[in-house]
Structures are given as C-alpha cells and as structure tokens.
C-alpha cells in the first residue's frame, strides 16, 4: 500500500511536468496549426536559464522559475517572429507550408541544441538548489521538490486558466486558436496573439524545465525524450485541449510509473506510448478532444 502511494506521488509529479510541456505543444498546435518539434529544446533552454538566473543574480529558486519563464517566453516570441512567421503565414496543418514547418521545427531543434552546446557545453549541470531530505509521512517519502512541482504547476495552471477564461485577452487567444480569419474580423490583432501564444507556450516549457532541474540534471540532450512524452500526453489528453494536456500528462506519468513499478521497470519509456496507442484505438480524439476541437 505504501509502495502504491509512493508510485502515485512519483507518477503524478513527473506527469505534471509532462503536462506543462504538453500544454505548450497543445497551445501552439491550436494557435499556429503546427506541431512544434523544437519544443523539447525550449524546455531544455528554460532549464539552463533557470541555472543562469540563480548563478548570476543569486535569487531564490522561485524567482529563477519566473525569470526563466520570462526569458524563454521572449526567446520563443523571437524564434516565432524571425523564423516561423514566414512559414506559418502560408498555412499550417497538412498544407505544403505545414510540412515545411515540421522540417523547420526539427531544424530549429538541432540549431537550439547547438546554441546550448556552445553556451553550456555537453556536460550535465546539477541544479544549484537543494531541498534536503524528503518529508516522511510514516513510510512514505514526500520529497520537497515534488511538493514544489505540485504547487507551482497548480498555480501556473490556475493563472493560465483564469487568463484564458476570465480576461478579454485570454478570450482573444482562444478565438485565434480556433480560427484566425474570423478572429481578425473581430478586430483581434492576430499576429500579436500568435506571438503571445508562442511566448506563453515556451514559458510553460521553461517552467517544466526549471521544476525538473533539481530531480534530474540539466543537459543539452534532455529535450527529446521530454518532447516524445509530452507529445504522447498531448495526444492522450486530446490534441488542442488544454485541460486535456495536463490530464494526459498526469495519466502518462502515472501509467508509466505504475507499469514500471509493477511490471518490468526497464521498459518504462515504452509504457507511455503503449498508453498512447490504446487511447488512440479506443478514442482517436483523445480523452478531452471531442468538444474542444471541432476544427476541420
């Protein structure tokens, strides 16, 4: 029983991190009609930026999180404006430009990885924070870093949800995500909204990177596996659905941890995709993908 609870804690905490990255992928998919294959690298860069903020300014971990989110968000906007804009202008999805965009995303992933290599080298970096020993609840260990992940992710989700549902700007973001032309006709400045969407998505990835930092090391190659898992999470939850992305992340995290725990632990990375396949077979739209994504 204790073991099960341990697994649940671990699964949910890692799942939330998947969810944060998946959220960005989902947001970009709805906003720009593209699957952003360089998102793992923004997660990696965000994580490195967290270290940079701590070592340059000496601020506490929480402010490093905010700092990394802001810098990565701005970086995301620059990447979108300078590189992606001319491609997405021609349309996304299954159009020719959409295909070009996929290639461009892969290219950006390689480019960003090499930029990070130049800046930080290939060696893994430990996170300059220590949370000390976990809190023990009887036999169950609850590491403080997990609590941090849980709290930060909840706060971020609440802020994002409030922004999207309660503010005018958030309403416009949702409108643009659904249909750019119509939103233009509503008087929404669509290019600015697209930049905003991209920036927010990248900031979320950075948050995930900073949150995972103390558990794993930061390394330039950390992005690709995260991208795959987050992608699985986004699809499981329903591509384009934001609550779905978070739900998908938690499900993927829980599923793979429980399977690794009770089946064969060495195949951990396979379970996420197993879940993906099963969900796609049973419910091709993903769990929450039906109402939200009526888009043709």
């Amino acid at each position: 029983m204790d073991l099960l609870l341990d697994f649940v804690i671990v699964g949910v905490s890692i799942g939330i991190v998947y969810g944060l990255v998946a959220l960005g992928i989902s947001l970009i998919f709805s906003g720009l009609d593209i699957v952003h294959f360089a998102h793992g690298e923004l997660y990696m860069i965000g994580s490195f930026l967290g270290i940079a903020v701590i070592s340059f300014t000496g601020v506490p971990y929480f402010w490093a999180l905010i700092g990394a989110m802001i810098i990565t968000g701005v970086l995301g906007v620059v990447v979108e404006r300078v590189f992606y804009r001319r491609l997405t202008r021609g349309g996304g999805g299954y159009t020719v430009a959409g295909m070009g965009m996929i290639i461009c995303g892969f290219g950006m992933s390689v480019a960003l990885q090499n930029v990070a290599y130049l800046l930080w080298g290939a060696a893994p970096h430990p996170y300059p924070v220590s949370f000390g020993m976990p809190i023990f609840l009887g036999n169950i260990a609850l590491p403080k870093s997990y609590l941090y992940i849980l709290i930060c992710a909840l706060v971020l989700m609440t802020v994002l949800h409030t922004f999207l549902t309660r503010t005018k700007l958030g309403l416009a973001v949702r409108a643009v995500a659904y249909n750019k032309d119509t939103s233009y006709l509503m008087g929404v400045n669509v290019p600015v909204m697209i930049s905003l969407i991209f920036g927010v998505a990248c900031a979320m990835a950075a948050a995930a990177g900073v949150l995972i930092g103390p558990i794993n090391y930061v390394q330039i190659e950390m992005g690709y596996l995260m991208l795959l898992k987050a992608f699985a999470a986004a699809v499981v939850g329903g591509f384009g659905s934001l609550p779905g992305a978070l739900l998908g992340g938690i499900l993927v995290g829980l599923f793979e941890t429980l399977c690794a725990g009770y089946l064969i632990a060495s195949y951990k990375d396979i379970y996420a995709f197993l879940l993906l396949i099963v969900v796609l077979m049973v419910r091709p739209t993903g769990l929450l993908g039906i109402l939200v994504k009526v888009k043709a």
């Binding site: 073991l3 341990d6 060696a123 430990p126 169950i140 260990a141 558990i215 950390m222 064969i264 632990a265």
Partner: protein, 425 residues
C-alpha cells in the same frame, strides 16, 4: 639523436630522404630509421574532462618527441572523439586502420565502444591499446591484437563485492545501465556474492542508459529493504540514481555502491552531498599519498586545471607510457611497405611489457598469448570512498587487492568460445 624530426607524413620519398639524412648524421643509432610512428586515439571527449585527458595524451606523445622521440622515430598522434557512441568509435577505428594507416590504436573510454572496435582492428591487424574500458568480454574475445591497461571488471567488481560482503552485508539490490561496462560491473559483483556467499540479489534490473527517472526501480528497492544498493552506471546516470535514491526515501543506512564509472569526475559534482560514503573500485585515486601520484595530480592541476583527476586521467597517461615502452622495444622499419610488419612488431612488443607500475600502484603485465590472463594488464583494483561531494570533492582509499591473472575465468570457457567465433566471422 635526430635533431630534425619530420613533422608531417604521407610523403614516402621525403621520409626515405630524411631517414637517410638522419642515419648519416646520427652514427650508432642501431635500428633507428627516423620514421613516423602513427598513433590513432579515439576517446570519449564529450565533456570538458574528456577533452582534457585527450589533450594530455597528445601532449605526452609530443613530450616524448621533444625529448628525442623513440629510437630516433617520431610519434604522430591523431585524436578523435567518439562521444562514447559505438557507431562513431567504429567509424574512427576504421578510418585510422585503413585511411590513416596508424601503427597503434589507443581507445576507447567506453566498453560498449571498445567491444565492436576489437572486431574492426582484429580484421585490419592493428594493435589496440585500451586505456579505460573495463568490460571483461573485451579480452575474452581472444584477439591477439588487444591489450588492456585498466582493470577488467572480473577483478574490480570482485574486489568491491568482497569488501561489501565482509563489511556491510550480502542483501544487495542492483540496478545497472545498459552500457557494457556498467552491465559487467554489476553482473560480476553479484556473481561473486552468489558464488562465495550464496546470496542471490534482492533486486537486479537493467535500465536504459540516459534514463531520467529511476524512481520506479528505487521505490521497489526501498520496499525490499536491502543492506546495500549498487548503482552501476556511467557517471551521470550514477549520480542521478544516487540523488533519486535519497529522494524516494531509501534510508542513508543503506550503503550505496558505485561501479568503476563512479570515480569519473562528473559523478561527485553532479550528485553533491548524496555521494558521501559511497565507495567504488577504480585503478587510481588522487587521494593516494604516493609522491608519484601527487606529482601527477600537480601536473594535471597546472596544465589542465584538474585538481582531482580520476582514473580516466591516470590510465590515459599510463597508456601513453605503456605504448612508449612497446615502441622502444619494437623493431620498426616504418616505410610504406612495412606497415603490416610494423603493426605486428608493435603488437609483439606490447606482449613483452611486464612490470609496468601504473600511477594507481597496480602493475601491468602483458604476455604473448591472446588470452584474458595475458591481456588484462592491471590486476589491482583500489577501493575508494567519497568523504565529500561537490566541485571540490574528497576521497579516501579504503583498500587494495591484487588478483591472480586467471581469477574469475573459471566456467567461462563457453562464453569465450562464442566470443571467439564471432570474432573470426
């Protein structure tokens, strides 16, 4: 000695000419024929540390040249990075063997890279001097071209296992990464415990190299309450496992044990305080008070800015000097036509190197037979414990054991035969 060593190669006429000049200038240098001994080096130079010991290998050979070379011959070193990836390592070895026509190959760091390179160089007939790889299978393949400076996992793991069994306990959980060295370390460890203490592993699982999340394994291990936990993996994976083992709440009373890669510099830096009390086996410790060791440490600190070199450093250094001894003993013609003969001569000369005392204190003894007994050079693992983690980590030596050359080979005839068959195909 020859004052005009040719710097560049590739021009037979010029080499011959220089050889002629050298011979006429330096009377009495018997076999000296002022040629170029070409050495190809392929190491894991993915990290800053790796780049530094790679540079050190090149610098050491240059120092030999500057001191007059070997028997009047100069050594030309080429350095390639294999990133600890087997495909890159094989490509490097192939290039060295067939394109650069090297006389000696030094490499690689990682066992998973060295293993396939053995096959490549066996076919090409190039002597291979291994500076870091510890997997016991490398020499078990039985290629006459292969020589290993470091300590085979059949010795080192046993040393750690013996210490653990006698001082800590035999209820041990194991997780190991999928790379060849880590796998062999763990396997040899629990085989020893099983053979000599009759205790089966409490938990034994492999994980993918580079796996970020080991907590599923560790949580299960926690519930099994072992006396010790061995995490056998390359330094980053090891450090990650170590930190996560505390995170999931495996109590500090459970002794953490590392494989040979636990000594690599990134491990204590990455794992911080979590590494305190962890012990591992290695060929060398910078904490060794031996003056020779301290001189070496001073050298790496001054020249490469590494104040606490690991055994990758020391063994890279040892490999250069083992090679030098072999070059001195080999009768080399060093012309374009004598490539195969020169390679064989270096191989045979390596087979005569005995009594070379490594920086770590172990003695490298090679012999002519293509057997693990002959080709696993160093047989003296050192057991080392971390007393402090982080950037300025500290170590202490807790013991040294020397094994017989044939230790751990009993019952491995079948595996050896299979490996040899695959080598000949």
């Amino acid at each position: 000695m020859n004052r005009y060593p040719p710097k560049k190669t590739g021009n037979g006429v010029r080499n011959a000419l220089l050889a002629f000049t050298a011979a006429s200038l330096v009377a009495g240098a018997s076999a000296a024929s002022a040629g170029v001994i070409k050495v190809g080096v392929s190491l894991r130079m993915k990290t800053e540390t790796g780049e530094k010991y790679g540079q050190m290998v090149a610098d050491e050979f240059e120092a030999i040249n500057a001191a007059g070379g070997v028997n009047g011959n100069t050594i030309e070193v080429k350095l390639l990075n294999d990133e600890c990836k087997s495909d890159i390592g094989v490509a490097n070895a192939t290039k060295y063997a067939y394109q650069d026509n090297v006389h000696l190959f030094i490499g690689s760091s990682c066992s998973s890279v060295s293993l396939p390179i053995v096959d490549v160089l066996h076919k090409a007939g190039v002597p291979m001097l291994i500076p870091h790889s510890t997997n016991y299978k490398i020499t078990l393949k039985g290629s006459p071209w292969v020589f290993r400076v470091p300590i085979s996992s059949r010795f080192s793991a046993a040393a750690a296992a013996k210490y653990t069994a006698e001082n800590i306990g035999t209820k041990i959980a194991y997780i190991w990464a999928s790379d060849a060295a880590s796998q062999a370390d763990a396997q040899k460890f629990y085989e020893y415990i099983e053979t000599y203490h009759g205790e089966l592993p409490v938990y034994a699982e492999q994980f993918q190299e580079g796996e970020l999340d080991l907590r599923a394994h560790l949580l299960k291990i926690k519930s099994l309450k072992p006396e010790a936990l061995m995490i056998s993996a390359q330094s980053q994976d090891f450090a990650r496992g170590l930190v996560q083992s505390y995170e999931v709440g495996i109590p500090p009373s459970v002794k953490r044990i590392g494989g040979s890669a636990a000594s690599n510099r990134p491990a204590p830096i990455l794992s911080g305080d979590a590494i305190k009390g962890v012990f591992f086996h290695a060929a060398f410790s910078f904490a060794d008070p031996d003056p020779k060791v301290q001189e070496f440490v001073k050298m790496t600190a001054e020249r490469y800015g590494v104040a606490n070199p690991d055994h990758d450093f020391s063994q890279a250094w040892d490999s250069v000097h083992v090679a030098r001894v072999a070059f001195e003993r080999a009768d080399l013609a060093l012309t374009d036509d004598s490539l195969a003969a020169d390679r064989a001569a270096i191989r045979d000369a390596l087979g005569t190197v005995t009594g070379y005392v490594t920086l770590g204190g172990g003695v490298v003894d090679f012999c002519a037979d293509a057997t693990p007994e002959c080709r696993d050079g160093n047989k003296t693992p050192v057991l080392i414990e971390y007393t402090k983690g982080g950037e300025d980590y500290e170590l202490r030596v807790i013991g040294k054991t020397t094994f017989d050359a044939d230790f751990g080979l009993a019952g491995m005839e079948e595996e050896a035969m299979k490996l040899r068959e695959s080598l000949d195909n």
